[in-house]
Amino acid sequence: MNKLRTDPLPPLRDSLERKLIVALCVAALLFSVVAGAVQFAYSYQHELERSRSALDNLAATVHSSAAIAAFVGNDAIANDVIEGLLRNADILAVNIESDTGYQMLRWKHPSAANWISEDLVGYQLMSPSGAHEQIGTLSLLTNAPLISLRARNAALGQLGMLVAQTLVIALIMLLAFRRLIGYPLSQLTRQLRTVTPGSSQRIDTDPSQKGTEIGLLAASLNHYLAASEDAIRAERELRLRVESMESHYRRIFESTNVGIMVLDTNGALVNCNTVLREGLLRPAFDNSGSADVQGDFLALAFRQPERAWALIERARTNGHIEEADLELCYGNGRSRWGHCLFSVHALEGNGAPLIECVLFDVTSRREREETAVRRAERDVLTDLINRRGAEAYLDRAIRDARRADLDLTVLYIDLDGFKNANDTYGHDAGDQALIEVAFRFGRCMRRASDLLARIGGDEFLIVTYDCNRDSAVVRELAERLIASLAVPISLSDGRSTVVGASIGIAGFPQDGADQETVLRVADRAMYVAKRGGKNRYVYAEAQHADDAAAP
């Protein structure tokens, strides 16, 4: 976590230094071009003027001699003056002439070019006497190309100097930048890079940087590092606390055997815990363990989702928790039950409310309850349905048969000679005999859905569904039942006993419209069979039933 990041600095693609170089070069270039042009023009002009000024001075120097020569027409002085002047490289030819007609013209080279009026400079020659009158002219033919060339060379020299100065200054600035800014900045950056956020590391700077912008930057960074260290430490502590709390709650959420799920108002699953995902509602999830988050999860979870929705609607309107036992979809034939507590909460900020459902597995309780019910309807000795269960079954069967417009037949069986055996061999033997009889009767049953019940001490009842009492099936069943008792019943102590069966047969709807009537009619028929000599079966007759009901 606190691993030091020492990966090298990425290469600077666009360093300040390079930018500065470019900026300096551009500035130097621009400056050289502009200032150079100005400087060149100025130097050139200045040099020309200087040449002209030198020429003027020269002319002034020789003026008095030239004036005398012109004044008196003295060739020797004029020659002297002209020779002196021609020694100057700038002068190609000299002409001295006076108003009185004196003239002397000399060329530096005999083959010199023609006069060019622009290059000709004339000076007035004044009288040597004090009078301010012009007595002649001193004309100088200048070597204009030479002067111009020299001026250009001088200007170029100045220009070169300027450019060199500019370059030197740019170089100095660049070096100064590197020394004063670039290097300290990159040092600072390198240090900052090795600092782990939240650690106690700080940036060291050269003491000479104290008071500079770099020093200020380093100080600010250190301040920031200190602040971030505090913040990160606080954050870390807080996060640890939150994490421990969260894992605590997560453990509760995940380890409890209470299922918790959160749905949106469309019934789509937002979140649930593993109890639901891997236990109670596993069939609602696909193989990857995720639910269809778009669809109505309640339809997948509950056999009767409309009940769940009704509870949710109530919870939404009254703001309380609504609870009920709901059957869960558990696929494989077994039914599972959940006790569900629904509540609807509006989230802060987010407008759409969420549905919370807490779900306990109450399958075992329901099963216990059902078992208790079943046990109440079952005979403990033979594990057959007892009288109460038989009556309930018959109620349902008659209801179903009436709805489906079907027949059913009731066989009321009373054992013959059982009291005798019971008295002779004891209760245990009686019980054994009853168990054996139940077993033998069970083997005679046409199908498992038909009812075999023990409705009294030695009384049994068989109900065959979708079967007319006069059919061969019923007759054969009655005969099989009687025949099954023909073989003596072996008792545990080695002895054996024989019991018989008197059977009364009644049918729905011929012999009665309800359970009580049908049973009574069948019972009456059974007594008829007893009186008729036992070990036989007798079909009920309606009038008998009515007679029997009359007294």
């Binding site: 001699s65 005398i68 004044f71 008196v72 027409g73 003295n74 020797a76 002085i77 040597p128 006497s129 004090g130 009078a131």
Partner: protein, 145 residues
């Protein structure tokens, strides 16, 4: 009796006299022989002659110029009135001309009397004096101070 007023008056009269005498002495007279061909000369003509620009007044009419000694105050006055040049300028000027070997400065005479004497003897001579000359020479130009 001598009063301050009479003293002042006498000083003023003396100063006025002195001024008049000085003024008369400052004039320069350019002179020629009484039989010379020229009656009058302009200041320009005289300057051209004395600065060596010309040596004759008309073609073929050469003149002989007479100067005065460098120590004579009249020479300084003469060149100042004629050309507005100081003596040192004039000397330098002539030194330059003389250096060429072709021109010679006018011949110097010791004083006004020698000049007058030389001019009165030579019809080609021209000179100058600081005092009004007598009738033995002709004044061809009068330079006033």
């Amino acid at each position: 009796m001598r009063t301050p007023a009479s003293l002042l008056l006498r000083i003023a009269c003396t100063m006025g006299l002195c001024f008049m005498v000085g003024s008369a002495r400052a004039d320069i007279y350019v002179i020629a022989h009484v039989n010379a061909s020229t009656e009058q000369l302009t200041q320009q003509q005289v300057a051209d002659l004395y600065l060596g620009r010309t040596r004759m007044l008309q073609p073929g009419d050469y003149v002989i110029l007479l100067d005065q000694g460098n120590d004579q105050p009249v020479r300084e006055r003469f060149f100042r009135l004629l050309t507005n040049m100081s003596l040192s300028q004039v000397n330098a000027y002539w030194a330059r001309l003389r250096f060429t070997g072709r021109q010679h400065p006018p011949e110097p005479k010791a004083n006004d009397a020698k000049v007058i004497e030389a001019v009165s003897r030579d019809p080609l001579a021209i000179g100058y004096v600081g005092t009004q000359p007598g009738s033995q020479v002709r004044v061809v130009l009068h330079l006033h101070e």
